[in-house]
Assembly symmetry: D3
Homo-oligomer: 134 residues x 6
């Protein structure tokens, strides 16, 4: 009786794809418009999927209130209305949505213990999405 | 040449998350607003995924008309515009969307034989979804 | 420089379309499945549209924080996870989505004064919506 | 035989709501998280509505290719992957989405002559939208 | 107490934008890829908006069952899974979505009398929509 | 550090489900309205999922510009605004969406080498989707 639960959170943030160790021309070649100076932004939609036995008493994989509370304190409060390039998590890494996926997956994996964290999926735009499952 | 086909059905229904064997305080603690007296409801979107060889003659995994007919008679006619708490399926179980997933999966698994039933996914709201695959 | 701002809120609730002054047969004839005993429910999406001059200093029609605060205290806290038939607002009126539109419009019109309340639009399902503008 | 045609464009951009002539405390009070240092961003969806007689020969209000060409050269090329605060259009005005609506409306109104420009609507997030019609 | 009700129907159909009285070059110039030989198609979403007093007894603008029945017999049965160019309605007119709007509006206006027909809106794709209100 | 990237493309096209080697009655029985003479159409949404190591320098699975360029030349230019029945790919096969999935999967699998092609998913309508992963 193992089921999966997926919860969706949305927050706006900005980023600029740029590596200091590459030349301006190389940055432009690799990242295109995403390398525009001063950055741009997205409404990121983050979906976390967890799995577990459906509890015989409560009928739930885990309590959504617990998941929401964890997400708010550990993810939303950090990334909501932020410039990703300015966050410690991206001091050494380019804030691509692939890397944002990995970062958020690691936060849930390390800290959320009420169910098994299976996957993080992020919609960057209505045309692009990324997934990471460890 | 095995492909997957996913078909989506929608119906409104109501439910209340409540267990008689728990105290009122415990119910409130576990289920929060979902335990409000008199219940609330959702537009449930049910997606059934089936798989099979793509038939060399017809080009189809299975006939959608057969799948729709099965779904209408065995699922929609039961759950559409219903109060889930009042249905026999939930006489002994709390009508959480996890349990609704399992219930609908079992109905397709037992009765639909034109293709392999792989998964049931239910969107409870635009922020929550659940999956069950046996 | 008058602009319109539309804000969207979502909440699940249940209702049953039924009038005691009509016979069971008449209720069934008028409301169809919406008259099913024990009710059903929806994920209601309420959109409130307000208008006003764009403030030369702030660049805003009105502060979204004010609108959200008003909506939470006066609308969401009342209708979220409720059985509409049990609310005082529908003691004398059938809780059709037309009447829910009028009710919510009146709440905003009476109490929200930071911008002109123009319209309430409610999506009952992905196929139905209703609008009321006084 | 006058009809309306609405065309939707999407682009990511960043902005920060902040006025130098207000104190930090006042900026924070008026704009909340939208005043976060370093800005944030959105996937803006811009909908332009034009109207006109349906041409008896072509069956069209106006040629979509003309509208798309105008939009690309005059709107998308300017705002796509931009930091709105750094654009000349917002040198003196806060780049709120209300002001972005007015700016884009004025661009279409001044330059697009194949049909009557009726309205600009911008979705800032899935919960907020703004309209301006002159 | 006048409210608006909007109901959404969807059907796939095909069309080709082409006028025999124009040269091939002119057709190509006016219609672009929409003039491709053999046609192409869309999932058309038709929204009909009607208005009326909210009935004090039933709480409804009009009965959705009546609207659906009218739409099915007079609109869906004609246009669903059709090649628009082959229908009598488009024997003399190009089946642009503007003209499809006018055609469907006229069908509702002539025949549906339970509420005032206000507007037809058709989404041709997720980027294009058209409206006609007489 | 293996992640998945999914990119979405949309194009309108038409098709008719019909096999010459079946009788008219059999075609009608198997395909229903999809066998209507002269065909019908859809706004097809094609999602390609690729996977790969997240590059330590660029932070990307693969460059979206490369993927878009490949898709445009090899997929969109062929299927956009086409009548699928008239294409060489469907000279011997019925242009069901299952077969379209397989066809597009094979095109990416043969030609796109910057990341591992995992899956093609096509939404035929808002209610139907198909997947093929080899």
């Amino acid at each position: 009786m193992k089921a999966h639960l997926t919860r969706r959170y949305q927050f706006p943030a900005s980023h600029r794809l740029h590596r200091d160790e590459m030349s301006d021309a190389e940055n432009r070649d690799v990242y295109g418009k995403c390398n525009n100076p001063h950055g741009h932004g997205h409404n990121y939609a983050v979906e976390v999927t967890v799995s577990g036995q459906v509890d015989a008493k409560t009928g739930m994989v885990c309590n959504l209130a617990d998941l929401d509370q964890f997400a708010r304190v550990n993810v939303i409060d950090t990334f909501d209305h932020a410039n990703l390039n300015c966050l410690p998590a991206f001091a050494e890494k380019v804030p691509s949505t692939e890397n944002l996926c990995i970062e958020i997956y690691d936060i849930f994996k390390r800290g959320f213990t009420r169910a098994k964290v299976e996957k993080i999926r992020i919609e960057e735009t209505s045309k692009n999405s990324f997934e990471y499952s460890g």
